[in-house]
Symmetry: none
DNA sequence: ACGGACATACCAAGAACAGGGGATGGCAGC
DNA sequence: GCTGCCATCCCCTGTTCTTGGTATGTCCGT
């Protein structure tokens, strides 16, 4: 029976034309897989304004309200863990994936009180384009249907692909391009060097370094170092490996 | 059978300790799925220096040699398509995903001549950390085993996860733990807010924000904001999702 | 009940940076 | 030859950060 499950769902998704249809399909399939709730979120990075993204779920109203009003998305440990894994993960694994603060634990507890026990979240990223998650959750008193997690992985991936296809046709993506020198300055900055230190390292003037960083900030339309570093990291212009190794060496 | 296959493979991977073992496991599983070849590549983010990463495959020598000597990786249409999809794709879909140049088509033709007919590639990204693909291919005269593509998706994902785990052993490291308040300040800082702005947002004094950041820097043993943000991002204490959305909103 | 971790608040000196100007030379494309 | 982009350097003003302190009250676990 499971053999065809994924294909069935895939076929179903081909005909999906709207958010609502996708939502209904997901609701049904999550029940059939033995879950009580689903949540799909897709954030598109369109350079422009229009609110890019999609959030479909059938979480209890209470939880949804709490989540939105307190802007818990900004401190959701599940979302953070999504940046660490290629594959879906059960929430029990969170502790092994990322450090949990007290607030994180409390958040999970509040979730339980609102009817979300534990879950399995499928993370997907497209650098510079989109990031998405698809979560399947069960009520507090229940366990995850372990033998269906592989299916959940597939179903989640399919749903996210579908959501992506539903989104705005991605056109002129303007990923800022930095010059080599700008990038070099940026890397050293990310490594924690000051402009003056960077200047010595690169053998140029302090002012020049500041100028490069200034121009880099302009291109990324941010106005401070932190944001610049974060943006460049996210776009893949620089990578952690470029930086982290230098943490003990400096 | 479906569910078990994936779990079997997953169980097998848990015991994998080295590249070679992973390679062998992949070779075997790809045969069982009805493919003739596999290729797994994992690039860990480091723009420069030694290329840290992993390439496992059992492609014909001829093709491997051509691919490497002409540095075809830089112009591989399959790799380009990987930046467009959450889910694995059959190479027949390439045209619908990205524009194919003449060179691209030629490359696919040469591949065929070397014994690689068509394939299914599973792409995965982790912003700032890694980028990986797992491909299952068949000989020129054969078709993809359509009904096993869902399994290939799972198997590919598992293999990539395994490869990632094999990589930089971020094992018994003492990851600094920040208090919730410290983390909040950190998040707003990463979003590009100054201490004063953060203070207003959190409804506390500017000096207090500075104090929190001070203590956070101490715990991470860094002495500037950028490094703090980078370190926290790398450790997963904060995630890109916490930050990026706020780039246009500020 | 006590120590420890946390949140809050303040002070002060000096370094570093953001944002605003200009200015020069090199090099590629049209 | 002009234009545009890049790299380099310089100045200035005001703001923000870093780093070193001190101090109070709360909450939690043992």
């Amino acid at each position: 029976m499971y053999a065809n499950f994924a294909e069935e769902f895939a076929t179903e998704l081909i005909n999906v034309q709207s958010d609502t249809e996708l939502s209904e399909a997901l609701a049904e399939v999550s029940r059939r897989l033995g879950f009580d709730h689903f949540a799909l979120s897709l954030e598109l990075r369109s350079g422009s304004r229009e609110a890019p993204g999609l959030l479909l779920h059938d979480y209890p109203d209470e939880w949804a309200k709490v989540y939105v009003t307190f802007d818990l998305a900004g401190q959701d440990p599940v979302r953070r863990a999504c940046d660490k894994s290629f594959i879906g993960f059960a929430w029990e694994m969170l502790e092994q994936m990322i450090p949990l603060t007290r607030g994180d634990r409390q958040m999970l507890t509040v979730g339980k009180e609102c009817g979300i026990g534990t879950g399995y979240t499928v993370p997907r990223h497209l650098p510079g384009l989109a990031r998405g998650t698809c979560t399947f959750a069960v009520s507090p008193d229940k366990d995850l249907p372990r033998c269906r997690l592989a299916l959940a992985e597939i179903v989640g991936t399919l749903a996210l692909s579908c959501a992506l296809a539903l989104g705005p046709s991605r056109g002129a993506e303007t990923v800022p391009v930095l010059s080599d020198r700008q990038r070099e300055c940026l890397v050293w900055t990310a490594r924690g060097k000051t402009a003056a230190e960077t200047a010595i390292i690169l053998g140029i003037g302090t002012e020049t370094v500041i100028q490069h960083l200034k121009m880099a900030r302009e291109r990324y339309q941010v106005h401070c170092k932190q944001s610049l570093v974060v943006a460049a990291l996210f776009d893949g212009l620089i990578g952690f490996a470029d930086i982290i190794r230098w943490r003990d060496a400096d």
